[in-house]
């Protein structure tokens, strides 16, 4: 958690947003994030984000489910309590398939959703700063971090020329914290800054 300065610009049209992202990256500004009301295809590539490996995680959870189901059922039927059920074999693989399949799907789905929530830091009562309340409605909100090397005023002019609307500077908490959306944001100063102050 850290308090940082950001320059925020809103865009109304994807067709303006894409060239603007390109310009900001070419100019070497530190692009914090772009918040959009819906998934804008290709924006992740335009921003230079790498592909997500969530599917790989899903696969690993899935085979964990497969092995759990098969090993548990065969342990129960063969070693823990071998029972004669109508003279059927103790390892009836075809009869194990339905439960094995269901557990594969269950482990994969639950695991992926939990991983998704962990990676995106999503949970009930988690609060994050909303740069523009219309970023979940109709605006594409570009947020650029003001670093020691950034000239904020120049950056604002640059964003206006790139088609940004409602360009402003905000000093906010950049991470998440436990909080409620009906309460004001909290600022968590880093310890180093507190000592210097």
């Amino acid at each position: 958690m850290a308090v940082k300065n950001f320059v925020v610009a809103s865009f109304s049209d994807e067709a303006v947003l894409f060239p603007a992202v390109k310009k900001v990256r070419t100019a070497g500004y530190k692009l914090h994030d772009v918040y959009t009301p819906f998934p804008v295809h290709g924006l992740d590539h335009a921003m230079g984000l790498r592909e997500t490996s969530l599917h790989t995680a899903g696969f690993i959870y899935g085979i964990t489910g497969t092995t759990t189901a098969l090993s548990c059922m065969s342990w129960v039927f063969n070693s823990d309590w071998p029972m004669n059920i109508g003279g059927k074999p103790h390892f009836p693989l075809p009869a194990f398939i339905p439960i094995t399949f269901e557990l594969t799907v269950l482990f994969s789905a639950v695991g992926m959703v939990l991983t998704f929530c962990y990676l995106c830091q999503l949970a009930p009562f988690v609060k994050k700063h909303i740069f523009n309340p219309r970023q979940t409605d109709d605006k594409f909100v570009m947020v650029i971090e003001v670093t020691a090397k950034t000239n904020a005023e120049e950056l604002k002019r640059f964003l206006v020329s790139a088609g940004g609307e409602d360009v402003n500077e905000q000093r906010v908490e950049s991470g998440w914290w436990f909080g409620r959306f009906d309460r004001e944001d909290r600022l968590f100063e880093t310890k180093v800054e507190a000592v210097n102050a």
Binding site: D33, F38, L54, M112
Partner: protein, 494 residues
């Protein structure tokens, strides 16, 4: 950036002139407004039904399953009929949200949220029946394989009834996760435009702190796609396993390999009918005719006529096999006790509702008629209820021993239980329609510029141009990406 170009010949998915903000307004504002009188009336009726259901179930638990009109011949009656019926209804939601996502069917965006909600509520209703059919319902946890003090005595992993436990609980969990992960961004939309403190608090908690970050959207898309990929075989497996409850037995009329595909088709058939019933009411009451269009209804009616015909083929195949196999018991079940005999009337209701009446949907005029669709959706659901009744009861009421033959009619706790699940279903659905975005807002926005009516109109001029004219136009305003032309220009560059 819309790299996809869609011809104006294709019907728009969103009618009217709308921008992104208008979409939010249209779908979210019913949540913020006070519900109408009809909502209160409907909600009250549902609660009454639910209360009566709770009373019937309490009665059954107190006095035992003997209060149901089941006997040693008819071990399964209304309870399992209703179970299979409700599970089947649930299948359309997953089909729309998962299979149509994999097939890239854009029209699913208008109906998927409500259909998924329907799935979850239907599965909740379905689950009640096998649980209370256990009789000593406080022992219901015995179906779970956990290390216990009874040996440990494990469950029988060879039993289709146990497969059902795994299938239904997995199906419910995965559907819920899929639905809720799609709801997160829409809850955030409600939260960020909320005027009251309470709404900001509640939707803030429900949205898990969603911001709309590009990285999060990227993961969200990956998650949706994989969940869709998992749900597709899952939904097929669930009704397959339900059909195994019958198919792996040795009862004439049940012991048949046709059951899995026949049950899955029937499930989708009845599920789409229920989606139609609900959405025709929802679009009217919430004024969402621009999003749930006649085109959507037509697409679903096409699925209904297809799956209805598949089911019809299955009925005829069963009849043929009952004769062709030359097994006297099989023959008697189908020709003497199912299509004729004391319960024969149920067979002909099933045939009329499921096979004959859906044929009206071969005509486009009928598919696009709201009143016809609504009436048909109810007829199909009645027919599909009778299909399960026919399969279960007409196979059981006349077994190998004529002295144990009997007729079957439900007792009041059985009917009350069924009515109670209607209460549960509609109570949940009324709450959903009031407090949840009934249409996936973010998904509609993502198809708006390719498939919205007003945006498609802008494309018309380009469709009239020759290739040379279009090329010349591109070089003319290469750097202006402000209008619909810009989207085309970009598509061209990519």
């Amino acid at each position: 950036m819309h790299l996809k170009y869609e011809s104006t010949l294709r019907e728009p998915l969103v009618d009217g002139v709308k921008d992104y903000h208008q979409v939010t307004e249209d779908i979210i504002s019913p949540i913020e407004a006070k519900p109408g009188k009809l909502w209160y009336v409907g909600f009250f009726i549902s609660l009454m039904l639910l209360a009566f259901g709770a009373f019937s179930v309490t009665w059954e638990v107190y006095y035992g399953t003997g209060v149901w009109n089941l006997n040693k011949t008819i071990g399964w009656g209304w309870d399992i009929t209703n179970f299979v019926w409700w599970v089947g209804i649930g299948h359309a939601g997953t089909l729309i949200s998962a299979i149509l996502l994999l097939f890239r069917q854009g029209w699913r965006t208008g109906v998927n949220r409500a259909a998924e909600a329907m799935t979850i509520f239907a599965v909740m209703c379905a689950g009640q029946f096998p649980i209370f059919h256990m009789g000593r319902v406080w022992m219901a946890f015995f179906v779970l394989p956990y290390p216990n003090t009874r040996g440990p005595l494990w469950v029988n992993f060879n039993s289709p009834l146990l497969w059902d436990v795994f299938a239904i609980s997995t199906y419910f969990t995965v559907s819920l996760l899929f639905w809720y992960s799609g709801l997160l961004p829409d809850f955030a939309t409600v939260r960020d435009r909320a005027k009251t403190k309470l709404r900001k608090l509640l939707y803030g908690v429900a949205s898990f702190g969603w911001t709309g970050s590009t990285k999060h959207w990227q993961r969200h898309e990956a998650l949706s796609l994989v969940l869709a990929g998992l749900s597709t075989p899952l939904v097929l497996s669930v009704h397959t396993i339900v059909s195994f409850d019958f198919a792996t037995s040795v009862i004439p009329g049940w012991h048949t390999t046709i059951f899995p595909p026949y049950f899955v088709a029937g499930a989708i058939f009845s599920g789409f009918a229920m989606v139609q019933t609900l959405l025709i009411i929802v679009r009217k009451i919430l004024g969402l005719e621009d999003y749930i269009t006649l085109g959507h209804m037509e697409a679903m009616n096409k699925v209904i006529v297809l799956t209805g015909s598949v089911v019809g083929c299955a009925y005829l195949t069963e009849l043929f096999m009952a004769w062709y196999a030359a097994v006297p018991y099989e023959f008697a079940t189908f020709y003497k006790y199912r299509a004729a005999g004391p319960l024969g009337w149920s067979y002909w209701i099933m045939m009329t509702c499921n096979v004959i009446s859906p044929q009206v949907f071969w005509f486009s005029k009928m598919r696009r008629n709201v009143a016809v669709t609504f009436v048909m959706s109810i007829i199909v659901n009645i027919g599909m209820w009778f299909e399960r009744f026919v399969i279960i009861c007409t196979s059981l009421y006349r077994d190998y021993l004529p002295s144990s033959w009997s007729y079957y009619r439900p007792s009041w706790p059985e009917v009350g239980f069924y009515m109670g699940t209607f209460g549960l279903f509609f109570t949940c659905f009324f709450l959903f329609a009031k407090y949840f975005p009934v249409i996936a807002v973010a998904e509609i926005k993502s198809v708006l510029k390719t498939s919205g009516e007003s945006f498609k109109k802008d494309m018309e001029q380009y469709e009239q141009q020759s290739a040379e004219e279009f090329e010349a136009g591109l070089h003319h305003d290469d750097d202006h990406h402000h209008d619909a032309h810009g989207a085309v220009a970009h598509a061209h560059h990519n």
